[in-house]
Symmetry: C2
Subunit: 398 residues, 2 copies
């Protein structure tokens, strides 16, 4: 009897943690575990807003996959997933093909443009090392260009679309970063503008209003201008057009307005809502015994408020921990050992730049330096989960 094939697509939190747990729990003879990832590194999605703004080097936000996995137990394939064939149980890669008995889809999210014209072509998004390095360089480039065309004040205008979690965290870093770039490029800080635009009636939708107010106060003091309850109608190479017709010319537009699941999942014939799969209690795609979905592509409803849990690292890791147990049960043919997934949200902390943050821990609201410290602890905890003490020491910020 040949070994069962467990194929994991994507090396984000969901994929890496699943692979790590499996390599410990399953015996060499029980299964062949393969992880496919586009890059030879895992990146720390929760920190990407910092290298995007340029307040942290991108190398601190990524880890070599070889350092995270025991490559004697997990077969690592650096390749890009093209499509999933659920009937033949095969996955087409750009440079090859992989078969599976059990498939784990942990492909992460894509930016959701909500049909806003020109957004995909003209706005940056915070989604990978390549994309944040591009944003960082683009921001600097705008300063250099402005010094050679001083009539182009739009080069110094930075529009951030979306004031949700990522938008607010990015804006906080950007507000810390731009004064430094003003010094580097001899630019009068008065000329620089950050405009954060949100279609919803509030920034940080879903957060406690007191925390939202605190966050906006902190950011306003750093010079951020908010336009809340203001949908963007169109994005052009010159800037954005708002729903009321106002045009804001800007050299940089970063879109953080929302994410959706992965189009590869949609194209595989799996039922999705905006690319996300409403998984069953064992994290399986509906109708497929052999396909599990974790991370941003998995949709789970929070019954208390009848809304989906937001896609977070916290959720991805909890799913992966549950899934790894269930995969062991499945591989060993012990379906009675399957455990239902039950998320346990421990809290949420949003950074507002250096030394400032807001959050909920348990039921408690936290602000300012304490929240900022808590944010760092959470970041260190994620490092610990995937890489133990050595990774904490190597990549952690203290």
């Amino acid at each position: 009897m040949s070994k069962q094939k467990v194929l994991i697509l994507g090396g984000g939190y969901g994929g890496i943690v699943t692979a790590q747990r499996l390599q410990k729990k399953l015996h060499y003879n029980e299964a062949e575990i393969t992880l496919v990832n586009k890059h030879d590194y895992h990146y720390i999605t929760t920190e990407l807003h910092q290298p995007a703004a340029g307040t942290m080097h991108h190398d601190r936000a990524r880890v070599d996959i070889n350092d995270l996995l025991n490559t004697k137990r997990v077969n690592f394939v650096q390749d890009t997933v093209v499509s999933i064939n659920t009937e033949e149980k095969k996955v087409q890669l750009e440079n090859g093909e992989q078969e599976y008995d059990h498939l784990v889809i942990s492909l992460g999210s894509e930016p959701e443009t909500f049909g806003i014209e020109g957004l995909k072509e003209n706005a940056f998004s915070i989604r990978s090392i390549n994309s944040v390095r591009y944003i960082r360089e683009h921001i600097e480039y705008m300063f250099a260009k402005y010094k050679n065309e001083p009539e182009r004040e739009d080069y110094l205008r930075f529009v951030v679309g979306g004031a949700g979690f990522t938008g607010i965290e990015f804006v906080g870093e950007l507000a810390d970063r731009l004064p430094k770039l003003c010094k580097e490029f001899d630019v009068d800080p008065e000329r620089v503008k950050i405009i954060n635009i949100e279609a919803a009636p509030t920034a940080l939708p879903g957060f406690d209003p007191e925390l939202v107010e605190y966050a906006m106060d902190v950011l306003r003091k750093k010079g951020v201008e908010f336009k809340i309850d203001t949908p963007i109608k169109e994005c052009t190479p010159e800037g954005v057009v708002l729903a009321d017709g106002e045009e804001i010319k800007a050299g940089t537009i970063v879109w953080t307005g929302g994410v959706r699941g992965n189009s590869i999942v949609e194209n595989a014939g799996i039922e999705t809502m905006r690319g996300r799969v409403k998984v069953d209690e064992y994290l399986r795609a509906p109708g497929f015994e052999d396909i599990f979905v974790v991370g941003d592509c998995a949709l789970i409803i929070n019954e208390e408020i009848n809304r989906p849990y937001p896609p977070t690292a916290q959720m991805a890791i909890q799913m992966a921990m549950n899934l790894s147990l269930n995969l062991v049960a499945v591989v060993r043919g012990q379906p009675k050992l399957l455990r239902q997934f039950q998320p346990e949200i421990k809290g949420t902390v949003a950074s507002l730049g250096k030394g400032e943050a807001i959050g909920i821990v348990g039921k408690k609201k936290i602000f300012g330096p304490i929240a900022s410290l808590m944010k760092k602890i959470i970041d260190l905890r994620y490092l610990f989960i995937i890489g133990g003490i050595p990774l904490v020491l190597r990549k952690g910020r203290f």
Copy 2:
């Protein structure tokens, strides 16, 4: 009797050294000395190829003018010269006007495009802090863009037009810099190309052939491709078209092919050749007793070879030293004390990047680490001339 007005246009080597000598030699009551400069800093033109490539921070290549002049003796005006009215003895600035009794034109050079179409619009030039900061950022930006559009290999192609002194020095730095950017942006160094194109039948025209060969060898080993005896016909947003019709697509084109005098001088009705004034033996513009020209705008023929001396920092400083003596004589009404300018070329050293250089010192050819050391000594000497030991310690590289 009102004090005589000495007006110096431009704070490069010529202008700064003239102002510095005058503030020492002339008594407060004898003359009012004014220096007009676009920026509140002087930049070290001979080092600009380094911040352009990104191998040195641009702050090391500039000095606050306030640190160089005694502003109680020299009136510093930060403004841009618009035009010179030789009849009314007035200089129009963007934000004002200045009168003069004695005018010193030390406005520096402009890139000479030799009528090559599209060059001005599509090529960078190494001419100021703003322009080199722009080049540095543009180079980095090309790497970031490439990582997001990997089919665009032209982003990784760097064309340097001109293999004269500046071109060769820049190419040397660029060849040192790009491998570092490959690491920073995860780019395979094999994909990166530096192409140095020269219309003349040799690189470094006017240099000793043995030195030229050595320089090209060093640079070829660093990966530079040369196209000598190859005129550029056209420059486009996509790259360059050579005289033979070949098109080289490149994301970055830096033009170092030549300089000309300043168009402000041409427009003032002063006789010029490509913007340079063929000055008399006292560095006066022909036909003007009250206008002196030093630095890149002054044209002096080397009788030995019947060709103009190339515009260098060495020449500008020697001219300024001579001029300051002659201005004292003129201000004091002692025309018999005027001294003829006699250039004394002590040598020329061209850097080829880290640890490598070529040059002539006296009549002796020098190569490699010794030439590189000599280059550093020359740079330190320039710092010493304009700012003494304190500036050497602050900006010098040892």
